[in-house]
């Protein structure tokens, strides 16, 4: 049944998204704010290891990815994701505000780097820009 729903959503042209953050509040905030876009949330993860498992199983088109997380940090997860699916669109959403970490994420293939704390507007603008919607 779940698979049927997912298939139907994809046939409607929805983008499959995986939301990764060790904060449940942030995962919920991202999901709530991206509702207005044509996205289907195929999974949420609170640690890097679960994120990679979901990534392999659900094959998302887009990932929002935190960096400071238990099990595996977001930079390691990003490297692994890029080995699996080079064209995945990854938006790093992190509290780490230093330039070196931002540059590293972009060098590894992240398409966007949003620093926490973020407002709804900032998240939506960054997402739109990454998806080429504005």
């Amino acid at each position: 049944m779940q698979d049927e729903i997912k298939s139907e959503a994809n046939m409607q042209g929805k983008v499959k998204i995986l939301i990764v953050d060790d904060s449940m509040t942030i995962r919920q905030a991202i999901e709530k704010n991206l509702k207005e876009f044509q996205v289907e949330v195929v999974g949420t993860a609170g640690d890097g290891k679960t994120a990679l498992e979901l990534f392999k199983n659900e094959d998302p088109d887009v990932v929002t990815l935190d960096i400071t997380m238990p099990e595996l940090d977001g930079i390691t997860v990003l490297e692994e994701m890029m080995k699996i699916k080079r064209d995945v669109k990854v938006m790093v959403i992190t509290a780490l505000k230093d330039k070196a970490t931002g540059l590293r994420a972009i060098q590894l293939g992240a398409k966007s780097y949003l620093v926490k704390p973020f407002t709804s507007e900032k998240l939506k603008t960054a997402f739109s820009r990454m998806m080429g919607l504005n």
Partner: protein, 148 residues
């Protein structure tokens, strides 16, 4: 730790509240933590390693957390799980943002959250800890910074 260090944390804290809530938090004059406990309903602790060592924690009230959760999630009925989670996230964000000043060698841990008014939060004894009082709306909280 010096005055410049404290300013980084004050700026990061003020920015958090302003960005999330649109309302400025007012920080009081920092003071050296003595033996008296500085613990409110929920405390989010971050360990610091790398070039600097120590820890940072924010301690706050359930009511303040519920107010912030309502803004972030449009939900006025935040659960205990949500307010606990939010405590850790605030600590993470304030600590992570100061890497703008310290760089990537300022390593932060994932947060540990303590629920309830514990006797106190144990800090490294050989390092001075500073308490930064924070007032947002009518709510009080404290940021405690203990860095080598």
């Amino acid at each position: 730790m010096n005055e410049t260090d404290l300013h980084f944390f004050i700026d990061s804290t003020v920015n958090y509240f302003e960005e999330i809530t649109g309302e400025q938090a007012i920080t009081g004059i920092p003071y050296l933590k003595g033996r008296e406990p500085v613990v409110l309903d929920y405390s989010g602790i971050i360990g610091i390693s790398g070039k600097r060592k120590g820890c940072i924690y924010i301690t706050t009230t359930k009511e303040m957390l519920k107010n912030i959760a309502a803004i972030i999630l449009d939900d006025n009925e935040a659960t205990v799980e949500t307010v606990k989670d939010l405590t850790g996230e605030i600590a993470n964000t304030i600590s992570g943002n100061v890497r703008e000043a310290y760089g990537s060698s300022f390593m932060i841990s994932v947060p540990v959250v303590i629920e309830g008014r514990a006797k106190d939060i144990r800090l490294p004894e050989e390092v001075q800890a500073f308490v930064i009082p924070i007032t947002w709306k009518e709510f009080k909280s404290y940021l405690v910074v203990c860095l080598e």
